[in-house]
Amino acid sequence: MTQLIVMSAYLVLLLGLGLLSHRFFRGTARDYFLASHSIGPVLLLMSVFGTTMTAFALVGSTGEAFRAGIGVYGMMASWSGLIHSAIFFLVGIRLWAIGKRHGYITQIQYFRDRFESDTLGLLLFPILVGLVIPYLLMGLLGAGGVVRSLTRGAFPEVFAATQGGVPPWLSGLFICAVVLLYVFFGGLRGAAWANTFQTCVFMVTGLIAFVVISSKLEGVVAASERVLEAHPERLIRGEEITQLQFLTYFFIPFSVGMFPHLFQHWLTARSAKTFRLTVVAHPIFIMVVWVPCILIGVWATAAIMPDGSPVVPSGVPPNTELAIMVQKLTGPLLAGLLGAGILAAIMSSLDSQFFCLGTMFTHDIVTHYFGEARFDDRGRVRLARCFIVGVVAVTYLLSLAQPRHVFTLGIWCFSGFASLFPLVFASIYWRRVTRPGAIASVVVTAAVWLLLFQAGDYGGDRGYLFLGMMPAATIFACSLVTLVGVSLFTAPPSEKTLNKYFPRKQLGGAAVAAAAPVAGG
């Protein structure tokens, strides 16, 4: 019960923060959707980091380390540290400049204009929305598992089916309601503030969890030595992860370049320099969060209770390993605090994703096809709020279906986004990329993704590899080859469009505004 009170208090605090941010709302659509480009370095770092770290980072990484060992860090975290920062630096700053100059709010607005193609926008919309929804589900499934495990035994009569734990349908409902309220009122500023607070909470509580759990296991040395005796295969990569699989995880973090919610966060930056802290600190933050989670997951394989039973029995439901460790090894107050930290990590992604989908429906469908002039600022904000409510409701209902492993669901979702990365990169750096090339690339990406997703039993086959590689490698390659091949065989884009995105340099030396280096044709 104590755990539930602490977690509930945290959610109420979060709600208060969201409502407070509403007091700073300037009443304009630009302020609601982009916080008037006013976000500084610290808020940008925290909101971008909080958004990219999900249930996947905490709950999924611990669970996967429990099953596959330490290789999970090398596959996901260290690649992410390198590649995410590369994308913030090489793509994020450029898109911020283009977006600010041309007044974009959504990714699809940019692609539509960049490739002079309404068709491309129509094609991308269902794909991006379809990929964000599993990402959202990851959050809700992760949160449901955590709350159920942490509150086990609190309500033995009311929730007998879940051994007295709060069932996922109820915790999901509560979490959705809280996120919905602060995003509804606070807009993207509310999400950025909440993300900052939540990122602080989950980083601090994660470290506390690490210290407390390790002390309960008689110290870090004893905990690791126990693993060395009982499950040494968890301390190496060995047979669990192949060399090719490890290598081709390289492609997964490219997903960050195509997350529509991250595009929107980038546009909130006050200036290009605002990105500097994010570029440098992101890999460090990843390390601070992931290393303890991986160690806890590995320790869980050999941790035993005083009566000799395993702390985490084999065959526990997916995504519950971290919560079980916390619940069994710490007191109720600390378990509640750590539960709040896990919820913080999960909710700091949910809010941006809910908000982004609402923004996309508003701008990419309604105002685009019914005419921007028909909606004033207040009308657009009202419309977005209605869509956000709809998106939250649909996601919640979908989360009630049977869950897959958070980690596996995430990999497929990230693979889809990652395979669209050549499109965004070419749109910034390659003048010769064409509309048919872009459309063909998106179609091929979607088709190959669907084929492989089907072959992988729709996420059910957790170890699915194609030709021994992560499916993302094949989809990425198909996307890239199609983009380049079709572009080279079709007419180049109009001079007007190129001038808009690749401005010429003035004769006499000084650059007019070269947002992107001239490359290719």
Binding site: G74, G238, L247
Partner: protein, 77 residues
């Protein structure tokens, strides 16, 4: 030149990710940290350092000026 050196260092770091030499090594550094995990934790720190150098030597100074210029066409808002 410095810009190219930074990008080259980042490429080298990407190659060094495939640490096959620690693949089956279960040594515990400081008695608790598996060497394969320690390597990649340090890898993250080196990545941060190299991106710091990229900010110093390869900063896209034109981006800010581009953002502030009025677009040729009417902005959306």
């Amino acid at each position: 030149m410095k810009k190219k050196a930074v990008y080259l260092a980042i490429l080298v770091l990407a190659v060094l990710h495939q640490d096959f030499w620690f693949w089956d090594d279960s040594t515990l550094l400081f008695g608790f940290l598996p060497v394969g995990l320690a390597y990649h934790a340090v890898y993250s720190l080196v990545a941060a350092l190299l991106w710091y150098l990229a900010l110093v030597f390869a900063w896209p100074s034109d981006a800010e000026a581009f953002a502030e210029q009025a677009p040729e066409e009417t902005a959306r808002e």
